[in-house]
Symmetry: C3
Subunit: 458 residues, 3 copies
């Protein structure tokens, strides 16, 4: 097979054995710990005299499904832009997210819904597990094309634990607000992945450069991902907020923010483009920054105007990041960021955290009325001032960056274990290393020239 | 760059400056006018003693998300059928719809939810803004491939205002029913676009003819658009109706109508096709006519049988339109209708309006019972007879056609401003004019022969 | 036209006439029998003093939309994997499912909601009709590429009737539980299709072998289908269950089961693959087996652990089936199963039925509490023991296999009528037989060598 040596039996068995081991382990832990919660258990639900209409399912499940679509369709297809890595992009997203859902049910369950020896699950745990899978996929974006599936599963194994721990510190200890996860999901996932990518730095990656771009139809596939992420982001940011006005407001703010990041992305992309041309990479990614940037503040009284401004800034920063910062990141800091997660999740995530500091700091009893209780319970009870809440928010960002950096370093060391299934430098961004690829693409591994010749051969 | 002259700095700056200007203007107007409504504002919602379950969010948001999917995924991908205009189809849909959402929030807000100096927003304004964006995208379909993004933004700027005005006249002054917008969205958008396309008539468009068709995979991408439009159309027609039976019935009627338009489209397409072959253009478009045709009457007591008949007729008319009318439209009336919006939105929209006249005219107290109040409040109060309501409906169609024609003319004159970014006749339907396109397609601008040669070169 | 003889006027008119005839017939039956139910009729809904929030629409419609997406996007695109049969895969799915929705509304209506001479329709009948369409599409998967659209419509005509009858026997006579249809949908659809494919056995199918595989981008299109099926399967299994905990639990169990089938599919696919490579066919299909296998038991107290084990087994069996059993099925049993529905729907469906036997047999008052009434009403009333319910479940599987086999045989005989539009052996899996195909693919019918040459010609 072109370029890649026949793999030894050991490497061949790596993925199957790891899948089976992880699945076996989570299954045993599920047997011991995981139970239906009050809303999903037949006996418990009917023991109380509820109306079925009160079941949390009806308030959260449509949002859950939108989030689920974002994770598997959105992230999966967004990464299909690489011309020869589509199977891996969508396939490894599928695999690592599926594992992350199970594992995160356990980890988040221990931190958030562990009562009398059991973890209790329902639609909220489903949403939270999907959120954690989102962070894993963000990290995946930084190392896309440079790691094998067994490496990704190990990364997920570690990252889910650190995600859960960081989330616990922020939400339960610091009592920070971060419904849509500007900090816990986006900044965490991005910096975890970037630091990890730094540790895995490949000075010879140039050898695979010809496969690093897109082709016309792979860019269209990627737009499927972009658009599904864009349309459902209001559901993402509102899925875990308090019911009623909280969920409604979060969706509305996110909707506005995204329209603004779209406009600023088109503006900036054309402005910095050759002859004023738009760049698909910007449109596919930076237009989404409006969703990231209001991840912390969307449930607050951000105002529609505030949402527009936030989205506008995020789209601008993100587009300029793709244009000017990503090249520097590689040449100066030796961070190879395949999908530019620093621009879509890193900087807008940090910006979103800071926006959260600002909006929390401006919270008043007048603006929130009796709704203060559900957005900022500690303020409503007088246990914290708005300024104190803002400081806690800021500290939450700091904690997140620490967790992400330390976690990414550990992850990088783990993934450098020599027996793992990393592709050689000349075989990065190449599906054939891990997949049976239909014949017409079989010899594509040799480079674009041979590939195009090939299409004319029998 | 192949064929297209290096653009001057002035044209290069056109799109960025227009985006920034429009975003700046809407942001200022948002700051001054737009406020959360009673359902999204923390203080206002908690001031009343609501149950969170009563929040409008839970009754409308799932429908909103389906509509949102239709606008961005449905319309976006439906237009990807052109072989070299996929980036523009999905990208300019994205840009112009994002702007239309903001702008329409303001325009529709002034007409419909302006109280004490402020526009109040929530899930209903989100749905309405998406509806308006739908009309803009229908018009876009008529001129697809022949206009630049700056032109499209200007078109949206004008069309959103006229859409809002027309909608106000129909819904608030004439008290016409048009939940799914057979008139306000489909007929308006289609005739606005067609008249505009007439004003922009290009006698030399032949020069780009080789790019006007599809390729195999671009047709499959377009089917993504078709299918998402088809499955979610029941949500589109039911999203803004009265709660309860109204929303339920609208969805049900639309569902049946679409199944019938699908069957008649396949029947007619094979009947008029060469050797009985089906034509993808028909399936992609005419099969959707069943959704358009019940846009006015779906919330009425149309009966499931009525829905089948309506859908069947719409699919038939639409398919025959593609086959026989579109060529005439260009040769005789000098209207170049890229996507055939006359067949999918124009004729079925008018048909839908007339069906609304009929079904409204047949409304009786017996058929609607106490539900008459929510479908035809003026009839329930005895302020109008069924015949009078029918006449108002008919007059509404007339008004719509006037607004669309005048608006389209104005729009055409606006878009003919010589400094705008229209592509030359030989560069229509070509992404490269506005986008960085991956290398393998780089020289495609020269015509299909060179393009195919190219694939064999290094 | 390459390879296929000009079709006679008779064959040319076959599809149009059949569409028109079937549509005419269902329309007449709709006029006579179909009426709005209490939730969709204006007069009936307002006659009772309901709160609009109680309308079934709000509890079922989001699930319905997910199911609708699965049927048209999921099944449609899953079958696009064939390199030259994409138009037919998505187009004939569209046509036959649209017809099945109408026809099934009538057939299921006669069996389940026929009161005082009328069939009453609403969101539940919409869900049930989509379920029936799912079974038709599963059967379609077995014969994909080997039948024409008129044949498919006739198959649907017959299959919908037998589906309705089988469902009636199971759910209404045997009082079997099968919310997500392991038996009624998956096993029925699969064995109906497999037996039918056996009757249509083509010994010379080898002639079309070069078109039976995928190409790189067709596999990516198929992944759109896979992922949408995967994410919405929890809605599929929960759509028709009892409200409250039942719906909630069904979704949760399915979600876990699918994560496990994904892990086991990746494990097994790599384990049996050449050099440890993954096979896209497995990922596209077997990863979904977790949804099928809990179709009967998801609403029961399966426990999250039980869901993981079930999903794991289903993914394993399904992957091994693709690898080892499908070839045997063709060589030994003369069953040509294009999509491998035996592996995705057949075996996992039977496994799911048996799991239902087990979980029903283990049902206790203690585990279900007062919820026993809604899951197993006969047990709650003391009219049946758990063991008896289990035996009834088992008998339901037996009945289903009988109905499917007899129905598939009849269907095969029907489809062998010589004047129908079956493609010749050398033209199977080829869109051009039924569709106008864009020029660049025009001569592809001759085989892959000529096809690739062609791309270099003008």
């Amino acid at each position: 097979m072109a370029g890649s040596p026949r793999r030894t039996a050991g490497r061949r068995l790596q993925l199957p054995l790891l899948c089976l081991l992880l699945q076996g382990a989570t299954a045993i832990l599920f047997a011991v710990f995981v139970r239906y919660n009050h809303e999903t258990d037949a006996a418990l639900w009917h023991w109380h005299n509820h109306s079925n209409a009160d079941n949390e399912f009806y308030f959260r499940y449509p949002s859950f499904q939108d989030v689920h679509t974002m994770i598997f369709v959105g992230f999966g297809f967004l990464m299909v832009f690489l011309q020869r890595y589509g199977f891996s992009s969508v396939g490894f997203t599928f695999l690592s997210a599926a594992f992350a859902l199970q594992w995160s049910t356990l980890v988040q369950g221990f931190f958030h819904s562990f009562h009398r020896g059991h973890i209790h699950v329902g639609v909220e745990s489903m949403i939270n597990a999907d959120f954690c899978a989102g962070a894993v996929l963000i990290s995946f974006g930084a190392i896309l094309g440079k790691t094998g599936p067994a490496q990704l599963l190990l990364m997920a194994l570690l990252e889910v634990v650190l995600f859960g721990l960081n989330e616990f510190v922020l939400l339960s200890l610091l009592r920070v607000k971060d419904a849509g996860g500007s900090m816990t999901i986006h900044a965490f996932g991005a910096y975890f992945g970037l630091v990890l990518s730094r540790v895995l730095y490949r000075p010879q990656l140039e050898k695979s450069k010809h496969r690093q771009g897109s082709v016309y139809h792979s860019d269209l596939f990627a737009m499927i991902g972009t658009i599904f992420l864009w349309i459902f982001w209001p559901s993402f940011n509102s899925a875990p907020t308090t019911l009623g006005d909280g969920q409604h407001r979060s969706a509305l703010n996110t909707y506005y923010s995204l329209t603004a990041s779209t406009l600023s992305t088109f503006a900036l992309s054309a402005l910095v483009g050759r002859d004023g041309r738009l760049d698909m990479v910007h449109i596919q990614n930076a237009a989404l920054a409006g969703g990231v940037v209001v991840g912390t503040s969307a449930e607050m009284m951000l105002t529609p105007f505030g949402a527009l401004v936030a989205g506008f800034l995020a789209g601008t920063v993100s587009t300029l990041g793709y244009k000017f910062f990503t090249p520097t990141l590689e040449s100066k800091l030796k961070v190879q960021d395949t999908c530019g997660v620093h621009n879509l999740h890193g900087m807008p995530g940090v910006l979103g955290a800071l926006l959260g500091v600002l909006v929390a700091g401006l919270a008043t009893h007048e603006a929130y009325g009796d709704g203060l209780e559900s957005v900022f319970p500690l303020l409503a009870k007088g246990q914290r001032s708005a300024t104190s809440q803002a400081m806690h928010q800021l500290f939450g960002l700091f904690v997140t960056l620490i967790f992400a950096s330390v976690g990414g370093s550990l992850g990088g060391l783990l993934l450098r274990l020599p027996f793992l299934d990393a592709p050689p430098d000349s075989q990065c961004y190449e599906d054939q290393v891990y997949w049976e690829v239909p014949r017409e693409h079989e010899d594509l591994a040799q480079g674009p020239l041979r590939a195009e010749e090939l299409e004319t051969r029998a």
